[in-house]
Assembly symmetry: C2
Homo-oligomer: 102 residues x 2
């Protein structure tokens, strides 16, 4: 299943970030059409180094077309627009297709 | 299941990178003790932007202790040392614990 993966760099105020994500952003993401599931994790660092990311969100879809449609949907636009309200630390976003043959 | 996630920034020579990963690095990773499975994907960009990463490797373990032990193992050290042989584009690494309650 293809995934939309969003990595949030650590913001200045992590409590405010968490509250906004929980109370506002997650309900926008939940409106993505044909969203199969969402996994939210709080990354930890490796070998004593802090993680560069505060939160990782993985949104799964049945097909790449469903994923593209979600990004192009009203919820996709609202989600992108909402980033400016809480993701001041920066956002890195990419699509993880189904496993490569590598 | 906790995951060790490694994001490889796009290198100058992607063919050389892929060959080294396939022929050398993957067999080092396969030696991690108690490694449950490895998922390799080639990220794609969102909204017409290129992906910042060329390859994402996700290594799953049954427990956080198993993951830490793998990093501290001979294979973990060999893997870290091998990065200099092919990962000139840069590497971002973090641990994704089991899902948060967020």
């Amino acid at each position: 299943m293809p995934r939309l993966i969003v990595l949030y760099s650590t913001p200045e105020d992590t409590d405010a970030f968490d509250a906004h994500y929980r109370d506002v952003h997650s309900s926008i993401v939940a409106r993505y059409p044909n969203l199969r599931d969402v996994r939210i994790v709080k990354p930890a660092g490796v070998a004593g180094r802090p993680s560069p990311f505060h939160l990782m969100a993985e949104m799964r879809f049945d097909t790449a077309t469903d994923l593209d449609d979600a990004l192009a949907s009203e919820a996709g636009a609202a989600s992108a627009k909402d980033l400016r309200n809480f993701a001041g630390g920066g956002v890195t976003m990419f699509i993880a297709p189904d496993e490569a043959d590598a």
